[in-house]
Amino acid sequence: MKYLDEYRDEALAQKVVAEIRRIVTRPWVLMEVCGGQTHTIVKYGIDHLLPDEVELVHGPGCPVCVTSLEMIDKAHAIAQRPDVIFCSFGDMLRVPGSEADLLVLKSRGADVRVVYSPLDCLKIARTNPGKKVVFFAIGFETTAPSNAMSVWQAHKQGIKNFSVLVSHVLVPPAMESILASPLNRVQGFLGPGHVCTVVGYEEYEPLAARFHVPIVVTGFEPLDLLEGVLMTIRQLEAGTYEVQNQYPRVVKREGNRVARDLVNKVFEVCDRKWRGVGSIPKSGYKLRDEFRDHDAERLFEVKEIDTQESSICMSGLVLQGVKKPHDCPAFGTLCTPLHPLGATMVSAEGACAAYYAYGRHLQCEKKELAPV
């Protein structure tokens, strides 16, 4: 496929790796922000291709992972109501709440449906006027325009039986929280290419300047990621800390103005609790008051739910790049994708789930057993 296949060219990848080897003189720690990038890196073994000096740690950019347990429990409480059709993206279905997951609820009779696009929910609402259609609106800045459009259109078309349970998160406040932490190890970022397709990268420039950290907005194919690493290492070796764009074929500095405008009309910034990390100020979106009739949290008045996370799980430290999945004693033993203990194992894009899916837990066992 055009614009995918050419960015998986093996010979070219070897040259970029060779160039990284040529220019690197000392150890550097880089973080890829987005879960989709983590997935590509682990799938293609990009971290193993890089010279020992370059360490990749994995960022918090998996919205399914960081959706708080309280919010998931709220979603489940709403989905179980007999008057509700609960719609969600497919990757939220198996995420366990305190008691069950959406698939289990469906097997018990709840009307849970997977949609490809949030606009599909409007069709469902129109054809089921006696039901309340609720969409679980999670995601980063990339997904915000789609969710905003569904609310905007429902409002415009007078579709009153459609609402959204909003748990949107924003990338820059999470990066700031990582950089400001005393535990921080990250010296350069591969920025989230598709988030920046929407919002551009102007708001990353103050972060780079304040923390003296290079940020290279990077795509999702193997060559994109390798080139992103090369550009970041070049900056680190030269002592510069600029925001650069490795992904100009889709990302513009100002992002997508039309999309940003509608997102700002529908949503406003709020504090948000991140699973595994805790509350981060101004790190999420909520619906503006004008759209309160489409706000599922208000319409269904679900009470605050008390939840308990696992005490062994290290997902908070993994999300912040302080620990790697295999540093956790529960990884691949007590904690697996079928029985996840925490944020980074619950979605395929979480770092722990990606390590598990591509057999890294087996490699760990080998390492322990081998020499002696």
Binding site: K2, V17, T142, T143, S146, H194, V250, V258
Partner: protein
């Protein structure tokens, strides 16, 4: 979650509610795409699609230039050394489309 893939726009239309829609071809699979955020695109353009929304036009000139720069690396002799095996298996569309 932030997965987005490039598809070729083969049709532009307006749905009964007045929303600008289109059809995009992803290596043989054709899907409905909302074009409200990309008023500038025309049939034949490549668009980057996320959960049924075109978020950006793929800039073919920039893509070609960036790729040419990368290809230049192939020509540099000093880079011939220190190579190691790189395995980059092809990924199917189904895999990429598995989750939004």
């Amino acid at each position: 979650m932030c997965l987005a893939i490039p598809g070729k726009l083969i049709e532009i239309s307006e749905n009964p509610e007045g929303v600008r829609m289109g059809k995009a071809n992803f290596g043989g699979i054709v899907k409905q795409v909302c074009l409200e955020y990309t008023p500038e695109v025309n049939t034949g353009d490549y668009v980057l699609v996320h959960v049924g929304f075109a978020l950006s036009k793929v800039d073919e000139d920039v893509a070609a230039r960036t790729y040419a720069l990368l290809e230049e690396m192939k020509q540099l002799d000093e880079l011939q050394e220190g190579e190691m095996g790189v395995e980059i298996p092809a990924q199917t569309l189904e895999e990429r489309n598995g989750a939004p």
